[in-house]
């Protein structure tokens, strides 16, 4: 710890007590580019004028838009919008039909086989298409009979024999 008397000693004796420092030249070791001090005043005055000149409307807006703060704010705003949209898309409710589309039929059947044992068949009728309830599909044998009868009636009405049909090319 330095004593107060040491601190208050005169600088010359202080420097002499420190011979390494005392041996170093006090000449300025730095230099400047050629003609630096000749051009510095005009550079400074030019800058002072630039600072004083009022900004034009367009120039001011452009400077603000291109300014660091604005660029940062714009970037952050874009990121916020992207985050918001991605969260919204992920949280959107998905319909049961869309989910069921991705599940194979075999898995659904297997699930019903394992888990549903007491289905009341009458309740399933509620799920039938309204059209199918009002106009039930006719059986294939009925439709065949109806068609045959119509053909026979047509042949009789037009006096066409079966052999005529067979001889047609």
């Amino acid at each position: 710890m330095s004593k107060i008397s040491d601190i208050l000693q005169d600088d010359e004796s202080l420097e002499k007590e420190n011979p390494l420092l005392h041996s170093i030249s006090k000449e300025n070791p730095f230099s400047v580019p050629v003609n630096y001090f000749d051009s510095l005043p005009s550079e400074i005055i030019e800058k002072c004028r630039e600072k004083v000149e009022p900004k034009t409307w367009g120039n001011g807006i452009l400077t603000n838009i291109l300014g660091y703060k604005w660029r940062l704010l714009t970037t952050m705003g874009c990121l916020a919008v992207i985050c918001y949209l991605s969260i919204q898309l992920n949280n959107r409710p998905v319909s049961y039909e869309a989910i069921a589309k991705n599940i194979p039929d075999s898995l659904i059947v297997e699930h019903f086989d394992k888990n549903i044992t007491d289905i009341n068949v009458s309740t399933l009728e509620d799920f039938q298409e309204p059209e199918s309830i009002s106009s039930p599909v006719k059986s294939s044998s009925d439709s065949t009979n109806n068609t045959d009868q119509a053909i026979i009636a047509y042949l009789i009405n037009h006096n066409i024999s079966v052999s005529d049909i067979e001889n047609e090319p």
């Binding site: 330095s2 040491d6 601190i7 208050l8 600088d11 202080l14 420097e15 420190n18 390494l20 420092l21 041996s23 170093i24 030249s25 006090k26 000449e27 300025n28 070791p29 730095f30 230099s31 400047v32 580019p33 630096y36 001090f37 510095l40 005043p41 550079e43 400074i44 005055i45 800058k47 002072c48 600072k51």
Partner: protein, 183 residues
């Protein structure tokens, strides 16, 4: 010659609209070297010192009209130059996201290849030693050792008591001597 005009005449001319630019031109010519070397010793790098000096004079241009002459013009300019230099170093520290001693080390490394350092090896070592000092000690050491400014004047410039300045200089000299011995 511009240097012959007194500070009070210069200030008077600056306050008149028609002679303001001329007066400021004279002021810059008169003080540019002293301000530059004060800044350069703190900042070390020429390009950075050039930026700081320009900022100092822009501040002077803006505020000279309000200068109350409570101190001499040179003391006022010196104070602005010191504050601007310290602000520059703080900004550099903030931009580097590293402690201040790393900024000092970075300046010290720059010194190795500095095209505008014309001193010898021992002078370079002294500059590196000065860079290890805390801000205030560094400024006090430079002012006393190189510019031989009186403590009373330094006290006015740095707004610090003469005793505190003497203590700073004493500690700075001791630290530099240790650095020179060990390196």
């Amino acid at each position: 010659m511009g240097d012959e005009i007194s500070d009070s005449d210069l200030l008077e001319q600056f306050r008149i609209e028609s002679t303001r630019n001329h007066a400021f031109h004279i002021l810059v010519n008169k003080y540019q070297k002293r301000i530059y070397w004060q800044v350069r010793r703190i900042i070390v790098d020429h390009d950075d010192a050039n930026d700081v000096v320009q900022n100092v004079f822009i501040k002077v241009w803006r505020n000279l009209g309000n200068f109350k002459e409570a101190s001499s013009l040179y003391t006022w300019l010196y104070r602005i130059a010191t504050n601007e230099s310290l602000t520059f170093l703080k900004q550099k520290k903030a931009n580097m996201f590293v402690p201040f001693d790393s900024v000092s080390r970075s300046i010290s490394r720059k010194l190795e290849d500095d095209a505008y350092f014309s001193g010898d090896a021992i002078q370079k070592k002294l500059q590196k030693a000065i860079l290890t000092l805390p801000d205030k000690q560094r400024i006090v050491f430079n002012m006393k050792y190189f510019d031989n400014i009186k403590y009373e004047q330094m006290s006015e410039m740095l707004d610090t008591s003469v005793g505190a300045l003497k203590a700073s200089y004493h500690h700075a000299v001791k630290k530099i001597e240790v650095f020179l011995k060990n390196n």
